[in-house]
């Protein structure tokens, strides 16, 4: 039962594996990037559920607080703001590269790119 109780982490693991599997198994570069995105999102979910406190509210201290409020740990959330920025930047660079690869090779399938590279060198 304990294992089921942490179902949110099972979700994280599942998403991570889906993401990583996509990166490994798909030749299409955009699909690879989608896989990477899923992979990163899983980590964000991981941090967020780590910061969740049962019954806690948003970590904003209201007027007249007496110190007994229960609120979520704000730090993981803050960290994830940065991680989201990093993820977006990575995707942006990745997609820009895909566009240029498409211009240069006429394809975005990795096996085909590998074949062209080998023929070229």
């Amino acid at each position: 039962m304990e294992a089921l109780g942490i179902w949110n982490y099972w979700g994280v693991v599942l998403l991570m594996m889906i993401g990583l599997y996509t990166v490994i198994a798909r030749d299409h570069l955009v699909k690879k990037l989608i896989g990477l995105g899923i992979f990163q999102v899983a980590v964000i979910l991981f941090y967020v559920s780590m910061g969740k406190v049962t019954g806690g509210t948003a970590p904003i201290i209201p007027e007249g607080a007496d110190g007994s409020e229960v609120y979520s740990n704000p730090l993981p959330h803050v960290l994830m703001l940065t991680a989201i920025v990093v993820g977006v930047a990575t995707l942006a660079v990745g997609l820009a590269l895909v566009i240029r690869i498409r211009e240069a090779y006429g394809t975005v399938e990795e096996d085909e790119l590998q074949r062209q590279n080998r023929a070229g060198s």
């Binding site: 990166v23 570069l29 980590v43 780590m50 730090l75 990745g94 690869i101 240069a104 790119l113």
Partner: protein, 489 residues
Amino acid sequence: MSEHLSALIVVLPLLAAPVCLLLRQTRMVRAWTSIVAWACLCMALTLLERVHTGGVITYAMGGWDPPLGIEYRLDALNAYLLVIVTAIASVVFPSGVILTDTSLPEGKAHLYFAALLLCLAGLLGITSTGDLFNVFVFVEITSLSSYTLISLGKNRQALTAAFSYLVMGTIGGTFLLVGIGFLYQVTGTLNMNDLALRLPELLGSRTILAGFAFLMVGGSIKLAVFPLHQWLPNAYTHAPAAVSAFIAATATKVSYYLLARIIFTVFGAAFVFDALHLHWLLMPLAIAAMFAGSLAAVFQTDLKRLLAYSSIAQIGYMTLGLCMASETGLTGGIVHLFNHALMKGGLFLAVACVVMRTGSSSVNAISGLGRKMPLTMAAIVVGGLSLIGVPGTAGFISKWYLVVGALERGWYAVSVLILLSSLIAVVYVWRLVETAFFGVPEHEVCEVPWTSWLPTWILIGATLVFGIWTDVTVGGASAAARALLGVTP
């Protein structure tokens, strides 16, 4: 002012990068990046001096005290590394070959320089910070700017190389992030020093162990430990020559630092090696890297690729030093890090000179150039000798420490393997010498201007100087090794 130095050294290149976009004019941007690099070098030297005389420097970013705030913490190891990174940057950035071999459109060079500065800022950030999440952020800054820089190579293969690096780099970075999360979950802190205090009681926890595994693999991807090196050969081969010189000489070194920091400072050698027996896993990989890298280098037909595979082998040597977990072994690893930065930086710059004149980086391009470009070819020969580890060159010093370290641990077979793999280096270096000095010239070329050969020779000359005058390198490295081992009881 001077107490902010440890933050300033990171912030300066970070803030200097956007300035490039304002300056726009190639000549001015180039001067600007050089000045920034030199300024960083001066700061790094001051910091190293201060660490050696006054001990560890800590700095609370924004006035928020650790462990809540982000701490910048410099000891003998990262101060030493700051000097290496900034020294390489201050030689490579002003060099005449910096724009050779790029596919930059006219008038876009300022973007390239901005990326270089960002990369430098990221590397310095990883090195100085004492906060694990901060490490992740700087790792990503470095990686993102590296992807961009690599994709600017002349051939279209640069694009696929950059993409592969992006995929692997992102996986590595994310693994690091997962590992950091596990550690935070159990300890509630991100500060490395704080972690080191809290972890010993919790080491049996599976969460911590999983976190350790993620951090190790993430770091190994960045370091290009065999067999996670797959991104490296193409990236170094197809990146612009000067970028290869800069990244090859610095990025893997900083990753090495990161791995050493996590192993020794955060977890402690006793846990990692005595309890976990990490060397059972890491040492075979290191030895495989030494042989696979060197052998693959023997058969390469492209100079940059040859050097890239040789880098994989050198990373193997450094990792081996890590596995020894003794003062001698770590000193060997860290000195090799320093020396390898010098010789690989110098060799890639020399190749950049070749590309500048012949337009090609294939091994055949240097055929018979011994007479036409004597300085460049001599640099390749000396750098090659240092890669082999010939006495009198810096490479000898580090291999010596590694061999002695292996003998101290009683790993006789390992010391023999180090010597054997060095023999393979003789073969690939000899191929270069033979081609350059006994081949028939294919190109009618002349020597590169001094702005190009001088930076090459500063680095190559340094390998000769530090092959004989070892006080600085070995002294710094053994201080760093002691700093790493000192935190463990």
